[in-house]
Subunit: 355 residues, 2 copies
């Protein structure tokens, strides 16, 4: 795809860059931000002229609807730098489309392509020194929209703000990940907002995840809320199960996020002639496969970690450790995917987009 | 109950009151705010000294977790002025307790009683002129807490802000309310956050409600998300069904808010010797009762409207108009409840608390 240029924008550059104060070898994920941010306000039915300005706190009314009714959505993307110092995005049109689907579900206005994609391009051109070369380095991109309209009455706002902020990131390694299969708590309802990247979906998981952490599990694999028998997703990642040599993952639904890493892995696996089975996977199948030795791998897939191998899971107080595989699908697919993202391998899918 | 005094507070009064600019006869709900607000920050595990300061926008970082992960909760309360110019609250300890239950579910810190209740008392003492006498007049109180901690990583924040803002209100009349019974969309999941007054629960309803509005219905009565057969709540109100002379309402659960108006109506109805049946009411029962004429009334119950009569409902494209009753439970119970709130009747329950 081509990213259209956005000419109609106000740009105010910061007087001094923070870049020399940043230790790029010791970045904790999501806590360091670049010098500039994109801001675009929606007022009375119209998107105003966007601006790029120094990253800074901003003023907001205490009655802003984002604080009271949670009208807030976001996306997670990454920019990569290749060996020729070119900066690349990975399937950005997918994030743009999903962002506007989330907007519709949350009764928020859709963001025009020139603001989202064109604004991002302008911002990345200014911040290109923040994208570092080398394996695992990237610039994490956080487009988001919040309801800035005032009033403590439960109805959609009239005023919104779209912003893009950028955070340099190292390869995401969260240590050995053990997961708990959800038996009581849930992430999403049938007919709810689970498929949207809505802010409220994430805080809803914090308390159950805290309880899981206290038991020694880093994440939860969520199950359907009605029966808790079907494996769904891991909150910030979709999840894959390798039983023998088949890769299983749940179909997307109104409860499950249509993950871009997820769909890329499915395409990559198919290209590698791995059998991929997209259907609801039952908890009892997983337990059975763990017991009879056919369960080889579980891994999460998402933008932050790309692929996150899981070493074991617990269900009904029983813990199942996964075997160590010489021919790990997770490691192989992660390498193939990141090779495309970093332009170390040919992008036969046409997924990468140059800034 | 006694509200403890809060002495340890910084107070900065506004230099000029906006009160003379306000047309108290023409207030739209939730859009006018008083001169001052209460602010209390939570930093690194400690609640700092609260302050009362002029109502104004405040600065917040673009990466504040409330914007990205929706850690935000609130309460809705009202203050009333009696004929002796005394200001009263209605069961405020219930709001305080529920606020902290919501906080726990959203992995947020609990707010101490002296900050919530003592701070509210100080604020109301300063703003007492904003509480107007007379039937239907009240001062709507909005305590809320947001995650101000920075970082685009999905985990609970370390910094929070608790605030109270106040909005003068007239009697809430929303016109004739027709409701749609939910057949596909849902408000809450089993094991989810439906029982918490979490911001994300409200924006999740905006899009389905917009669709209902377009069909001529003002609100949705939500059903259980797994089967859509059980009647639950109306989003910003609990809901009551009068079949013959029995009042039915769903039991509270992890999907249904434990409404303070709801529980007060149950107690009042019992005192009036009305038969109250608290159990899951099925959609098919409601349709059957509407068809055979035993369905006399449906009404919503919540802080804003107190009791909101519903004139008809639609289910599977069939519309059922409710009869007009001479002996309406809704009108009678609303009068009895507001008489207690405005101190026009003896408060035999001990629900009212003087500021």
């Amino acid at each position: 795809m081509d990213i259209k240029n956005l000419e109609n924008i106000d740009i105010t550059l910061s007087t001094a860059s923070k870049i020399n104060e940043v230790d790029f070898d010791n970045l904790s994920f999501g806590n360091t931000f670049t010098d500039h941010m994109l801001v675009c306000d929606f007022e009375n039915g119209v998107w105003k002229k966007p601006s790029i300005e120094p990253y800074a706190p901003f003023m907001i009314d205490p009655s802003a609807k984002v604080f009271h009714y949670g009208q807030a959505i976001f996306e997670g993307m990454k920019a990569y730098k290749d060996n020729q110092d070119d900066v690349w995005l990975f399937r950005p049109e997918q994030n743009f489309e999903r962002f506007n689907k989330s907007a519709s579900r949350m009764a928020m206005p859709e963001v025009p392509e020139d603001v989202f994609m064109g604004g991002l391009k302008r911002l990345l051109e200014i911040e290109k020194n923040w994208v570092k070369k080398g394996d695992g380095n990237s610039l994490y991109i956080r487009p988001f929209m919040i309801a800035t309209g005032k009033g403590v009455v439960a109805a959609p706002a009239v005023f919104y703000r779209f912003m893009i902020i950028l955070s340099p990131a190292k390869s995401y390694y969260s240590g050995e990940v053990k997961v708990l299969i959800a038996e009581h708590f849930s992430r999403a309802a049938n007919g709810g907002i689970g498929a949207a990247k809505a802010a409220g979906n994430y805080s809803a998981q914090f308390y159950p995840t805290k309880l899981a952490n206290e038991q020694g599990f880093q994440q939860i694999i969520w199950t359907d809320d009605a029966t808790h028998t079907k494996l769904e997703e891991a909150g910030t990642m979709n999840v894959f199960f390798r039983i023998n040599d088949t890769l299983h993952t749940a179909p997307t639904s109104e409860r499950i996020l249509d993950g871009i890493t997820r769909k890329s892995i499915i395409d990559l696996a198919k290209r590698e002639n791995i059998n991929v089975d997209i259907r609801p996977v039952l908890v009892e199948e997983l337990v059975e496969a763990a017991k009879n030795g056919s369960l080889k791998e579980i891994f999460g897939a998402g933008t932050a970690a790309v692929i996150n191998p899981i070493v074991g899971f617990s269900y009904k107080e029983e813990y199942f450790e996964l075997p160590k595989n010489e021919d790990s699908f997770a490691i192989d697919l992660k390498k193939k995917l990141t090779d495309i993202q970093y332009k170390n391998a040919e992008d036969t899918f046409g997924w990468t987009v140059k800034i």
